[in-house]
């Protein structure tokens, strides 16, 4: 904060060379003046900085706020001139249509099932695998870890066809095919829970735990599973929360895999559902605005409560690698 209030000492070049000034008083006067001028230019610069920042804030949140207008208007009014910024006759018609004539509720439930299960599955499998890579010694450990890590960035699109065919093939098998297939929850969830990012994060985190912890537990006769569930899991809770938020946000926002894996309306998720509201030729824009607004409001509320975790989680993807 101090940097804001006290200005920097006047830079050297602003002070005239001493041989031009004979009088010490005049020198002091010149210095004070230079200080005042600097302070004034600092203030303008500061105001300018905040104006620029505020401008970008308006750009960042403006489009979402604007949705309120078309969401509560008749779509026809979008095309009238002069434009109607604030709804003159606010209506809930768009929302009535959304709930009665589209499967919005179904999509929302599917999204929660999809993102929730993917997150849970990721947390369980990744923390276990991370523990094995961090603590257990077994032949081939380094090679296996390298092979798994090499798939860190494999794009969904690059394996879209073979993943689709894998799920489709399993779908033809007896019994298991009833559970894992195109247009099933597991068929949607399992291929979304493959990224090794969490395994890597968990391994890094578990490695930092002190060795004494394990030795003490082992002396008390605890097996690996007991050490994992009773000692390691409680200690890595913060890392689990960060990973959980990261995976949840990534999963519920994903589009390409749900687009091809859940074509049946019964299994559609919000992203695919809302995109399907935009017709090829005719689109009811009011309904689209209503659906988009309704979808981002709950996320925004959750975000405002847990913003610090969110920011940490998003950085985890890039920095903690």
């Amino acid at each position: 904060m101090a940097g804001d209030v006290t200005p920097d000492p006047p830079a050297l070049e602003e002070v005239p060379a001493t041989d031009e000034i004979s009088d010490a008083d005049a020198m002091a006067e010149r210095l004070a003046e230079a200080g005042r001028a600097k302070r004034a230019s600092d203030r303008t610069r500061k105001i300018l900085a905040y104006v620029v920042l505020s401008l970008f804030v308006v750009i960042a949140i403006g489009p979402a706020f604007y949705l309120i207008s078309p969401a509560f208007r008749d779509s026809v009014s979008l095309f009238t001139y002069p434009p109607e910024w604030i709804p003159s006759e606010p209506t809930l018609e768009n929302y009535r249509f959304l709930f009665s004539s589209t499967s919005y509720v179904r999509w929302a439930i599917n999204t929660l099932i999809f993102a929730g299960s993917t997150t849970l599955l990721t947390l369980v499998t990744n923390s276990m695998a991370g523990y094995a890579f961090a603590r257990l010694r077994f032949p081939g450990r380094n090679v296996l870890f390298f092979v798994v890590l090499a798939t860190l960035m494999v794009p969904v699109a690059a394996v879209l066809a073979p993943t689709y065919l894998t799920v489709n093939t399993i779908g033809d098998w007896p019994i298991i095919g009833n559970w894992i297939d195109i247009d099933t929850y597991l068929g949607l969830i399992l291929p979304s829970a493959v990224s090794p990012l969490g395994v890597f994060m968990m391994r890094q985190f578990i490695e930092t735990l002190p060795d004494g912890l394990y030795e003490a537990a082992r002396l008390d006769g605890a097996g690996e599973w007991r050490i994992f569930t009773r000692i390691v899991l409680p200690l890595i809770k913060p890392a689990l929360v960060v990973l959980g938020i990261f995976v949840f946000m990534l999963t519920w926002a994903s589009y390409l895999w749900p687009l091809v894996a859940a074509t049946d309306n019964e299994f559609r998720v919000l992203t695919v559902g809302i995109a399907s509201l935009k017709g090829q030729f005719v689109t009811d824009w009011g309904i689209l605005a209503a659906a988009s607004l309704l979808t981002i409001v709950p996320v925004t509320i959750v975000f405002l409560f847990f913003q610090k975790w969110f920011v940490q989680a998003s950085m985890a993807g890039a920095l903690k690698q």
Partner: protein, 323 residues
């Protein structure tokens, strides 16, 4: 491998309390020990490895095999050798897609990095209220890319988009065809993606800037170094390793541009916004010319794997320097 195969300390501890064993007995116990460590590790690893193996490792291998085949999604699969690869090389639509994606990657990353470094340095200097600005700038990342794109329909639509309403109302123009004309459409996509990613990169560079020690800046100031000089000699060198790594990561992610294209333009007008992933998806599930999609999928995979290796190498170099 030596560290992995060596018996754990507890084994040695068991040994010296026991009477000396015969060679055969020792081997038997060593085998038993190894079997036990493998079994234990398998217990912890198998839940992840099964999911990973079936739904990622097998698809990667299968994908490579598929790139020498045609069909298989609705019709029968047939082996065609290198035909897909030679056709992919000459396919004009794929070329356009690669060209568009490359143009998009260069412009979008250039713009978003410049803006992010600029805003991050502002936030680093003017700290009052910076938390509010950080949260607000982060906001676009909350919405899925699909919804972000939907919001921008209401900004850029020719008839009722806010930007066009402003353009007509204030400047009296005829409106700008943001999405229906080239090169406007691709530039609009760039703008939308910059809007979405900016908050992330601001926070990213802010974290980098905050790692520059205050004392270094102060010392340089006392030595009479001007603002630009300090930026060039202190800020840039500290950010450089971060910048390179960020660049590679950003290229990896931006090369996969799909969601906003699919919603806003569906590749049009006249392929003006066709991207590589858009091409793959379209060939697989609309055109049924699957062979080309298989080959370009593997092309994408190879590019991304090379970039991933590069990012790990850069990260390793950074670690080394820190150590």
């Amino acid at each position: 491998m030596t560290a992995v195969d060596a018996p754990a300390p507890e084994m040695a501890a068991d040994d010296w309390t026991m009477p000396s064993l015969g060679a055969a007995e020792y081997r038997r116990r060593a085998r038993h020990y190894r079997f036990r460590t493998v079994r234990r590790a398998a217990g912890f690893l198998s839940p992840y490895l099964i999911v990973w193996g079936v739904f990622l490792a097998i698809p990667v291998g299968w994908g490579i095999f598929l790139s020498f085949n045609q069909g298989g999604i609705v019709d029968d699969r047939k082996f065609v050798g290198f035909e897909n690869w030679t056709r992919a090389w000459g396919d004009s639509e794929l070329r356009t897609a690669v060209k568009n994606t490359s143009i998009y990657v260069v412009i979008a990353i250039g713009v978003v990095f410049a803006l992010a470094i600029f805003l991050a340095s502002l936030l680093n200097r003017y700290k009052r209220g910076s938390n509010f600005y950080k949260v607000a700038l982060y906001f676009p990342l909350l919405a899925p890319p699909i919804l972000g794109a939907m919001m921008w329909f209401f900004m850029t639509h020719f008839d009722f988009g806010v930007l066009n309403l402003i353009e007509r109302g204030i400047f009296g123009g005829d409106g700008i065809n943001f999405l229906g004309d080239n090169p406007n459409a691709l530039l609009t996509i760039v703008a939308v993606e910059v809007w979405r990613g900016l908050g992330f990169w601001v926070l990213f560079y802010l974290a980098g800037l905050q790692s520059v020690p205050e004392e270094l800046q102060a010392a340089a100031r006392i030595d009479g170094a001007g603002k630009w000089r300090r930026f060039r000699r202190i800020t840039v060198p500290t950010l450089r390793p971060l910048l390179l790594f960020a660049l590679v990561i950003a290229v990896i992610f931006n090369f996969q541009l799909f969601d906003s294209v699919q919603v806003l333009t569906d590749g049009g007008p006249r392929l003006g916004t066709a991207t590589v992933v858009w091409f793959i998806h379209k060939r697989l599930f609309k055109f049924q010319d699957t062979g080309l999609a298989y080959a370009s999928s593997i092309g994408l995979l190879v590019v991304v794997l090379i970039l991933t290796a590069l990012s790990f190498w850069l990260l390793g170099k950074r670690r080394q320097r820190e150590a």
